[in-house]
């Protein structure tokens, strides 16, 4: 691991300075510093995949700052680069242009510090580990002591209401329970930032509503920053403090909507005019992003 003194100093000052944002090979940009230190600062970010069929522009000129404690949804049709953007934040992909800072350092350094928890579309539990040992997996990798691991496993299982399922194997759990276990596994790392890639996409509507409500409660309890990828308008509007509407080919941000909805909300809020107004604006944004195709 190579860490330059500048980048190492950045999290101490808590400022996203141009030096702090400058990843090896990235272009420093004077406009990168937003007023208060954001958890995620993305500046003129672009990503082009080089495939056999030639270059594919997945992301173009993405600018976004996400503050502490926010719940931001990325919504858009498939191919709009929302998952790619999340993977860039997680250092699972690297940008080809622009800069990005996570907690004031490069995504790679953030990943090496285990600054975030990532929840995938599939639960991705290991079938040969029971639920408790699945949740302990990242803790084993971090080299935590047995007592600390047990404590975190118990705490996080309780957080997602899975007490009593410690010794069950993944195949003995329903899809919704598996996804809750995978959320507990992400939380067990105790990250400030939670990255979620369509975590409830494969579940049915009723289970999804239920888990959405639980996720909001969890967010209120833990006060984490969440970046949530979805293609469901009601889900995005119900969960988020801010909704980023993206459009495809190339993937770019079409609209950013600040939700005026109160933080403390229940599923009933979906019937209110305020909710429907935001949902309408999201739908309009998605439609506009699509229009050139027809």
């Amino acid at each position: 691991m190579v860490t330059s003194p500048e980048t190492a100093a950045a999290p101490v000052t808590g400022q996203v300075t141009p030096a702090g944002a400058a990843a090896p090979g990235a272009i420093p940009d004077q406009q990168a510093a937003p007023p208060e230190s954001p958890v995620i600062g993305i500046d003129h970010l672009s990503l082009t995949f080089h495939t056999n069929d030639g270059p594919v522009e997945a992301l173009r000129d993405i600018n976004l700052a996400i503050g502490r404690g926010e719940f931001v949804s990325l919504i858009g049709p498939s191919g709009c680069g929302k998952t790619t953007l999340l993977r860039v934040i997680a250092d699972l992909e690297r940008q080809t242009g622009g800069t990005i800072a996570v907690n004031g350092v490069t995504p790679r350094e953030a990943r090496e510090k285990r600054a975030y928890g990532y929840v995938f579309q599939a639960a991705a539990l290991y079938p040969w580990r029971n639920i408790a040992r699945n949740i302990a997996l990242p803790l084993e990798i971090m080299g935590l002591r047995r007592a600390e691991r047990d404590r975190r496993v118990a705490d996080n299982l309780a957080l997602v209401n899975l007490q009593g399922f410690e010794r069950k194997f993944p195949w003995q759990l329903s899809g919704g329970m598996q996804q809750r276990a995978s959320i507990a596994r992400a939380l067990a790392v105790e990250p400030e930032l939670l990255l979620m890639d369509e975590p409830f996409g494969a579940l049915d509507e009723i289970v999804r509503d239920h888990l959405n409500e639980q996720l909001l409660q969890l967010w209120a309890k833990t006060n984490k920053t969440v970046v949530f990828v979805t293609h469901s308008i009601p889900e995005a509007v119900f969960l988020s403090t801010r909704i980023v509407v993206m459009s495809p080919r190339p993937g770019k941000i079409h609209d950013v909507i600040d939700s005026g909805l109160p933080r403390d909300r229940s599923l009933d809020i979906r019937e209110t005019p305020e909710f429907l107004k935001i949902a309408h604006r999201v739908r309009e944004g998605l439609r506009a992003g699509h229009s050139y195709e027809d």
């Binding site: 975030y116 990532y118 579309q121 290991y126 079938p127 040969w128 580990r129 990798i141 971090m142």
Partner: protein
């Protein structure tokens, strides 16, 4: 056909004893065994009859059909011995002979079994080692894999005597050279299977390890190795059968001192077809038992790993 029969078996009323027997695997296996024995007797009759014609012609005897057929089943050196002749020989050399005697098939079987097992263990370890290297070092995938494949295109019968001669000149004789030939045959399926198995983890699970900033060693022990276990067992089932072939082939050029291969060779020297066939039957039974043991080990390990039954 059997699949529909099995699904009907889930009907509410439990099937009668006869029906259960007809659907049991014991019954199915028995039918196949019976069919093989019948075909074997028919084949023995036809293959041994030319010689039998000559015998009767020389003796100027005109045998009846039953007498003739019985005669084809009881020749001393038949082209194809009848099953009961092989059975008698097996009984004589396994039950009636002390296991320490050089005439005992148990003695020869044990010699072959020990080099089979030694070769299997060495081959499996070598196969796993090569697979780990190939999966983790990109250049080895291109440089080593073709050699691994090429090694199996060389006829083992051609290379076995060379291995025996080379190792003997180094002072190594007995079990080890045969085990080396078994290793040569058994590492290949393990390498191919484990390369596939170690690459089998879902990309999502590899990404997960990356988000945890896991080291290569951690990714290996916590993800790649457990994922590859089912592949390992499938490979080992092939490898142990190949290992037995290697052990028998390895016994042929050693001057036929001991082992099932030696029995095959001496049998063919002296035209003792009954002896050859009983050695073959013992080898076949041994292979079936070994493969079954690996299968049982697989089931136990999978259960310990919490896989659904």
């Amino acid at each position: 056909m059997s699949a529909t029969a099995a699904s009907i078996a889930h009907a509410p009323a439990p099937p009668g004893l006869l029906k259960r027997f007809l659907r049991s695997s014991f019954f199915a296996v028995s039918v196949i065994v019976l069919a093989i024995i019948v075909i074997w007797y028919i084949a023995a009759t036809f293959l041994n009859s030319p010689w039998q014609y000559e015998v009767f012609a020389r003796q100027d005897v005109k045998p009846g059909v039953v007498e003739f057929i019985e005669a084809t089943w009881s020749q001393e050196r038949p082209v194809l011995p009848a099953p009961h002749q092989v059975g008698e020989e097996l009984y004589k050399t396994i039950v009636l002979t002390a296991p320490t005697s050089k005439r005992s098939l148990l003695y020869h079987g044990w010699i072959t079994l020990s080099s089979t097992l030694a070769g299997f263990v060495l081959g499996t370890l070598l196969g796993i080692g090569l697979a780990i290297a190939i999966v983790h070092v990109a250049s080895l995938d291109k440089s080593l894999m073709p050699w691994v494949v090429a090694s199996q295109t060389i006829p083992i019968l051609a290379i076995a005597p060379m291995i025996i001669v080379v190792l003997a000149s180094l002072g190594l004789t007995g079990l080890l050279p045969k085990a080396v030939i078994s290793t040569y045959l058994s590492f290949f399926p393990v390498t191919v299977g484990m390369v596939k198995g170690l690459r089998a983890p879902d990309p999502i699970n590899l990404d997960l390890m990356r988000t945890y900033n896991a080291s290569k060693a951690q990714t290996f022990w916590k993800l790649r190795w457990p994922t590859s276990v089912p592949y390992l067992f499938v490979s080992m089932r092939v490898a142990i059968a190949a290992s037995l072939v290697g052990a028998i082939v390895g016994e042929l050029p050693t001057g036929a001192v001991a082992g099932l291969g030696a029995r095959l060779l001496t049998g063919s020297y002296y035209g003792q077809t009954v002896q050859i066939w009983s050695a073959l039957v013992v080898a076949a039974v041994m292979a079936a038992v070994l493969v079954t043991i690996v299968g049982i080990a697989q089931r136990i390990v999978m259960r310990l790993m919490g896989m659904p039954p």
